[in-house]
């Protein structure tokens, strides 16, 4: 739609078209205001029983953002099980609304990832998790199989929807 010039004689339709044009554009902008970002952690070798320092990353949220999905990507030489968890760093599960955010992935010989069956929180009817500004979260990998991976990456995708809030 485009701006309709109002001259000395104008119709309600012309007036309405201008207001509709502005509100439609603002609505489009609000929808475009959804911004995604990632927190990811990649390790060249994930060893069973390794210290958490070697298999995790932690950060403090600077804005409220909603978790969209989490996935694991692995390049492995054999079949074993990899896990990934998102936790509140001080253990206060209230900031994850007492939900356990974790995924498990059985590797194959070669490169693959846990999608499309990974944690997918984008649906409007399921559990929605909002990470809270000022809270420190930790994203960690675990290997419970006693084997090593060649490469392992966990990715958490979050969305900010402030323009629609």
């Amino acid at each position: 739609m485009a701006l309709v010039a109002i001259s000395s004689a104008f119709t309600a339709t012309e007036l309405r078209a201008n207001f509709d044009d502005a509100t439609a554009l603002l609505l489009t902008n609000a929808r475009a205001g959804a911004k995604d970002r990632h927190i990811f952690f990649r390790t060249a070798a994930l060893v069973s029983g390794s210290d958490v320092s070697l298999r995790s990353t932690a950060w403090t949220q600077q804005d409220d953002q909603e978790v969209r999905m989490m996935s694991i990507g692995v390049t492995a030489g054999s079949v074993f099980t990899i896990g990934a968890t998102l936790t509140v760093d001080n253990g206060d599960t209230l900031f994850l609304v007492d939900q356990t955010i974790s995924i498990s992935h059985a590797t194959v010989n070669g490169t693959n990832n846990s999608r499309p069956t990974s944690l997918d929180l984008r649906t409007t009817t399921g559990t929605r998790i909002r990470l809270v500004k000022g809270v420190r979260y930790r994203l960690a990998l675990t290997n419970t199989s006693g084997s090593n991976t060649t490469v392992c990456q966990v990715t958490l995708q979050m969305r900010s929807v402030r323009r629609r809030a």
């Binding site: 990811f40 932690a58 804005d63 969209r68 629609r164 809030a165």
Partner: protein
């Protein structure tokens, strides 16, 4: 926010000046609300595994610049996470000396030491870096650690002035209502257009590797989402001749490739690359991923190769 106007004009009704004013004010408020939600946030992380007091300063530093002069990007907060034996104090200082340095005292090779600073500092240049350098007070080896830089961009300051919209309302003194209404609608459309401009933000991601030998590469797979690529900066530190090439590929992206050639073990070299293209918003489909790859060539190992990618 769901923009709306309270009154719907229909041919045949009497034109009510107050209703026009209500609509003008409603859209003005919606633009204001949108402007209040102007900030977007992102995070870059640089691994500092293996860094010691003997490491060159550029190997203990994270560098950041903005993609263009029109982007109001700032460092909003910084965190240091350190695992190192011995109670050595490490200090993180900024190249902008107005930023107060922060310190963290190592607590053990498997005990996390964490410190953060919450004073914002602007990333003022698209051609030079703002840097944060971590320095130990005495001999110390970081067995594991990373610097987390939180970034914030002001969408209300993206090169186009956007101070909101304040409509001039119709009054009993309005002598040429059609002209006044037209002027206000034109002004309104311009404000909405500025709001569109301000949907452009900047979010950053950093990918880094240390000690990557020539002929080797590392890759990261990033699920797609609501974002498009703006460009990248490839950093490299290494003996002269080490070439680090960072690429970002994926469905919908035109492809970004930046190659930086090292000039010495104590020098950070940066190469900027502009790119374009949007990702499909389907993160669960790995075929829509963006793939980030850093490759080292030139026959010389890169002590540090880091790729800073700008998204909007």
């Amino acid at each position: 926010m769901i923009p709306y106007v309270p009154h719907h004009f229909v041919d045949g009704d009497n034109l009510d000046m107050e209703k026009i004013n209500d609509n003008l004010e409603a859209i003005g408020r919606d633009i204001e609300r949108s402007l209040e939600a102007r900030y977007t946030y992102s995070t870059i992380t640089l691994d500092i595994d293996g860094v010691t007091e003997a490491s060159a300063a550029v190997l203990r530093a994270v560098a950041i610049r903005r993609p263009s002069a029109g982007n109001a990007l700032e460092v909003y907060a910084v965190e240091v996470v350190l695992y190192a034996a011995g109670a050595v104090v490490w200090t993180l200082a900024c190249s902008d000396t107005s930023w107060p340095s922060i310190t963290v005292t190592a607590a053990g090779a498997t005990v996390e030491a964490h410190a953060s600073g919450g004073i914002p500092v602007s990333v003022t240049s698209a051609a030079a870096d703002l840097t944060f350098t971590l320095t130990p007070a005495s001999a110390s080896t970081c067995t594991r650690g990373y610097i987390v830089v939180h970034l914030r961009v002001d969408r209300g300051n993206q090169g186009t002035s956007h101070a909101g919209h304040f409509p001039a309302l119709l009054t009993s003194a309005t002598t040429a209502p059609a002209t006044s209404i037209d002027a206000e609608l034109v002004s309104l459309a311009a404000a909405a257009a500025r709001d569109t401009t301000n949907s452009v933000d900047v979010r950053c991601e950093m990918f880094s590797t240390r000690g990557l030998t020539s002929g080797s590469s590392v890759s990261w797979a990033l699920p797609s989402g609501a974002r498009r690529i703006l460009g990248s900066v490839q950093y490299v530190v290494g003996a002269a001749g080490s070439i680090a090439t960072g690429t970002v590929t994926g469905t919908g992206l035109s492809g970004s490739s930046a190659a930086a050639t090292a000039t010495g073990a104590t020098v950070l070299v940066a190469t900027v690359d502009a790119a374009s293209g949007s990702l499909a918003d389907e993160p669960m489909d790995s075929t829509d991923d963006a793939t980030v790859t850093i490759t080292v060539s030139g026959g010389v190992t890169a002590a540090l190769a880091a790729l800073l990618v700008f998204w909007s």
